[in-house]
């Protein structure tokens, strides 16, 4: 990381020393942005098309309905098996003879490192910045419902993974769709699996890559001053290339150890701010509840708040998207459903806890401007007006900075590390989909990895709007295919759940003495 930090510090200096090139670079950024927006526009429009006669995107309804269906179908599994999930993560049910294999904790931590990140920092700021504090209510609700989606997909991820003779594993929606459909005698599994893989590759390049690079650049530029995005992109691309192509594990290892620490530091700082402003917590929750049902003046009213809340929750915790099923499928267990239980903790940690912290800090900070006469939020275009016109990660940074002046610097490091860690995770998800389509092999893998690195530069150079739109569209497109498949395969999960709960009740499945 030293190399990365040095390079990031040096980047603005290089830009300042080369004014002519910087001028060209700004126009390069704009060109990249224009071409990118034109190229991705139709795809984005299709995914976010509103329901006829409304402004409600059909995709948001798709996700919420699915999460609600799974919640009811599995009889509120997220509540009934919550404490069991915690026991599994603690290792109470892990066979000591399996020590050295991937533990439930490790699978959860790895999946979380792919989801906890910019979605929690920048994504929430986007949601609250457009949908107001009321978006937080819908975000929490989506997080709680999403736990059931995650449970369903991750159980299937482990059940239908590929275990190769050399001991390595590959799992994820593309495997459970093709195998599960075949097992149930359903047609179209192969085509759906291919479609999912295509969208997963786009999602890896969008939300798992460009959005991260884009917001990391915004954060660094916010601190050291504006400079061309492609410089940040090149530095990031170089480091990611070193890890995923060069196999320099030490960078990834350091990141994987520092990221959880940064996550704890982030939540800790949010808690400190909330404690210092404890007298405003009640008011902030009041804003969240009032905004959830009235909108408090935001564009689109309460529907606007709802759409933003659901969108950001889905983008943050990825429930129903299928990416977590790839990450969780590596765990060593004889009972696939145990990983389903563990995975349902993910949206809880990611959305219900961390995202809510961010939203509360932004609300309390006073960064969102309120009209003193009406008590409603003031608008700047379609978004809420903010103190310095901040949006995305800069809004979160300003909100934390209002209470802890030096925290934006810590946040900048956290954002860079989160972005990096998410990119590494998504490079793997994308790679698994790529190899599913084009086969395993060094050349095939190298092609994807190079494409992945090129998109980092594009993401850092493009402006926020088109990048966020494409990122969301690509991630949600994965959810379209994945959830369709989950509807056909959820009876398999219910049978697993029935069998497991019977054996748990009878004492056949019991805790190990450690």
């Amino acid at each position: 990381m030293k190399i990365l930090n040095k390079a990031l510090l040096a980047a603005p200096a290089i830009a300042a020393a080369l004014p002519a090139q910087a001028q060209d670079a700004m126009s390069l950024d704009e060109r990249v942005n224009t071409i990118f927006a034109e190229f991705t526009g139709p795809f984005v429009s299709l995914i976010f098309a509103p329901l006829p006669g409304t402004s409600f995107p059909w995709i948001v309804l798709w996700l919420v309905v699915a999460a609600s269906v799974f919640t009811i179908y599995f009889s509120f599994v997220q509540l009934r098996y919550f404490s069991h999930a915690v026991s599994l993560v603690k290792g109470d049910y892990s066979d000591p003879d399996d020590a050295g294999e991937v533990s439930h904790f490790q699978a959860l931590a790895t999946a979380l490192s792919g989801t906890v990140g910019l979605g929690n920092i920048a994504g929430v700021a986007v949601a609250v910045g457009i949908g107001g504090p009321g978006a937080t209510f819908w975000m929490i609700l989506a997080g709680l419902l999403g736990m059931a989606s995650k449970f369903t997909e991750c159980t299937l991820g482990v059940k239908y993974r590929n275990e190769y003779p050399d001991g390595t594993v590959s799992g994820g929606p593309m495997y459970y769709i093709s195998k599960g459909f075949k097992e149930r005698g359903l047609p179209g599994g192969g085509a759906l699996a291919i479609l999912f893989s295509v969208f997963c590759i786009l999602g890896a390049l969008g939300g798992g890559n460009m959005f991260q690079a884009n917001q990391a650049h915004a954060q660094i530029a916010g601190i050291v001053g504006d400079y061309p995005g492609w410089i940040t992109g090149l530095v990031f691309a170089g480091v990611v290339f070193a890890v995923i192509v060069g196999g320099i594990k030490s960078i990834a290892n350091v990141t994987e150890k520092v990221v959880p620490f940064m996550g704890i530091l982030y939540v800790g700082a949010a808690l400190v701010i909330l404690l210092v402003n404890y007298d405003q917590i009640g008011w902030a929750f009041g804003q969240i509840f009032a905004g959830a049902f009235t909108g408090l003046g935001v564009a689109g009213g309460f529907v606007g708040a709802l759409i933003q809340g659901f969108k950001r929750a889905a983008f943050s915790n990825e429930a129903g998207v299928g990416s977590a099923a790839i990450a969780h499928s590596a765990v060593r267990t004889k009972e696939p459903i145990t990983e389903g239980f563990v995975s349902l903790l993910e949206p809880l940690i990611d959305t219900v806890v961390i995202c809510t912290m961010t939203a509360l800090v932004i609300t309390i900070s006073g960064q969102l401007l309120i009209d003193p006469d009406t008590g409603l939020y003031m608008l700047d275009g379609s978004a809420i007006a903010t103190v310095d016109g901040n949006s995305g990660v800069s809004l979160t940074s300003a909100a934390f900075g209002a209470s802890i002046s030096w925290f934006p610097y810590v946040l900048a490091i956290a954002v860079v590390l989160f972005a990096f860690s998410t990119m590494i995770s998504w490079s793997y998800y994308g790679l698994k989909s790529w190899t599913y389509l084009f086969g395993e092999g060094k050349t095939s893998e190298l092609i994807f990895k190079v494409i992945f690195c090129v998109f980092i530069v594009i993401g850092a150079a493009a402006s926020l709007g088109p990048v966020i739109d494409f990122s969301d569209a690509a991630i949600f497109a994965m959810a379209v295919v994945n959830i369709t498949a989950l509807y056909f395969l959820m009876s398999i999960v219910r049978e697993e759940l029935r069998s497991y709960s019977e054996r748990l009740r009878s004492g056949e499945i019991k805790k190990f003495a450690h």
Partner: protein
Amino acid sequence: MTTKLVIGLDGEGSGDRALTYATDLAKRIGDCELLVAYVIEWSPYSFQTAEENAQRHKRREEEISTAMSRVVDPAVEGLKKNGMTASGIVRHGDVAHTLNSICEKEGAHQIIVCRSSEGGITKRIFGSSTANLVMSATVPVTVIG
């Protein structure tokens, strides 16, 4: 009744002293069985990348195989040449906790280890594996200097 002794090795040369002592002790006891144990330090709470997770089972098998061939098997062969009844085992986990668990599972009567070869700040903060074993073991522990 057969007496069972567990010899904990850490892959360092000092392990020979533990093997020599265990051989002498076993000869004096008479009906004695020796179990050579090597524990690969590992925590279920460490953080790994998705790619590392996918390859973990393969890596684990490789780690066990390497420890067996480089540390445990030569030690067991040496003991057998000296007329001992010996076998070997490799496990992952916290060294002190795992050695004690092996003892309990195998019904062993004593653990023989060498003084720790660990050093540095980790030892100062968390204590050495040997010290932790002495503090937590449920059977007698002999530490060879």
